[in-house]
């Protein structure tokens, strides 16, 4: 096999564009899915039964739905109901729906894992409910959910590749395009793998470091 790595350099701008879209897709999705997850978590812990019901149905539906099915559904079926979303937005909506469901479960586990004694202790010191959340409950809950949340982030980062099926120009899509044009399958796919790794590895290391730094010991 004679290899021609210059092909990768030729496609550098395409790769860069793909990387930017991948990062943008993951970041925008998380920016939606963090508040989304918190809202759904609060609904599931709410004393109002209807809200709990809606949130439960939401979580059970979207946790069980394959992303690719949701992408196709929004892109090809929703237009029949008059909803036309461009590819990038379709990707954001599909990813956000699913990641919000995951986040809500992660956050819920974190908040519910804080013993009642901790709020008793804070209240007995004269804290308001707000001070209690900010000083006592949330700092502990956030530390507890950090590992699960980081896993969700790393999965999300890779899952963005699935929206290539509707021609969103993220890293997978541009790589596959480059491969189709150049027929240099080995070089292009290797480059693609290397780029995903270079993006993912520092994140995984950062996550490990955060987990060690903020670990809560009991």
């Amino acid at each position: 096999m004679n290899l021609d790595w210059s092909i990768v350099w030729e496609y550098r701008w395409a790769f860069l564009f793909g990387v930017m879209n991948t990062v943008l897709l993951a970041v925008v999705t998380m920016l939606v899915a963090i508040p989304g997850g918190i809202v759904i978590m609060l609904m599931r812990n709410s004393p109002v039964r209807a809200l709990r019901g809606i949130a439960t149905v939401y979580v059970e539906t979207f946790r069980a739905t394959p992303l690719i099915l949701l992408v196709y559904w929004i892109f090809y079926v929703m237009p029949r109901f008059g909803v036309h979303l461009p590819p990038f937005l379709t990707g954001v909506v599909a990813l956000s729906l699913i990641v919000s469901a995951y986040n809500s479960e992660t956050f819920r586990a974190g908040v519910n894992s804080i013993r009642k004694g901790q709020s008793d202790a804070g209240l007995a010191l004269g804290m308001s409910k707000w001070q209690l959340q900010v000083k006592v409950i949330l700092p502990q809950a956030l530390r507890r959910v950090l590992p699960a949340f980081s896993n969700t982030w790393v999965s999300l980062f890779k899952d963005t590749s699935l929206v290539s099926v509707i021609a969103v120009s993220e890293l997978s899509y541009v790589s596959l395009q480059a491969r189709a044009e150049s027929f240099r399958i080995f070089e292009i796919l290797t480059a693609m793998a290397a780029i995903y790794w270079c993006l993912g590895y520092p994140q995984a290391k950062l996550v490990d470091w955060l987990n060690r730094k903020y670990e809560v010991k009991e």
Binding site: R115, G117, Q118, D120, A121, G122, L123, A124, L125, G126, M127, S128, K129, Q131, K135, V136, P139, Q140, R143, V216, K217, E218
Partner: protein, 258 residues
Amino acid sequence: MSRMDHQRNAIGKPPIVTYNNVEKCYGDFTALNGVTAEVNRGEVVCLIGPSGSGKSTLLRCTNALEQINGGEIIFDGAPLPKGENNVRLVRRRMGMVFQSFELFPHMTAIENINCAPVTVLGMPKREAEELSYSLLKKVGLVEKAHSYPSMLSGGQQQRIAIARALAMGPEVMLFDEPTSALDPETVGEVLSVMSDLAGEGMTMIVVTHEMSFARRVSDWIMVFDKGRVIEEGRPDNIFKHPTEGRTKEFLRHVGVEV
């Protein structure tokens, strides 16, 4: 009863907490069934009695962690207020120590102590640190100021928890079985901090199974059974001459010869 009341008044201190026919239900279970009692300023009052008799419930009602369903609790001349903001004003004036310590695990010992003065009272950080150090000295743990709770023994954690409660400058301290979760070898250090506190004149309401502590340190003992105070009196009277059959039964059960 009047005989005992007479003896107690000889202490001559004004009441700080008064319970008037206090009732507390959980669903259709009655945890407090008409508790009438008084705690005077400067007194150490021990609540003893069998498991499930309502001792913890009374403490938790005292600082409004639980709402009562009937009767009233009067603190320093006024009934416990309704509404979060007013309740908070009262809670600041009472300290609480829990069986399971409940230190905040994400804060160091000193942060645990100065957290409430800073956030709740708005005390300047410097002043709060000085206060914290003096309290750490008091409980004998200055060298652990920057340790996290997970690095401390149970006895040390409980002493920090006492310091945390004292940092708010409480007028009454509520202790709910402060030594029940401790290894036997660390019980003594916590009881000694509590004895010192009593010696300084702190008003204390203590739920405890440490009968020797109750006998030695308390001014007054209340015996609980089935959500009521069935007998109360000076420690000598309660331990030597209990009048109620159920008191005798309880004391025998915890190994006190009567």
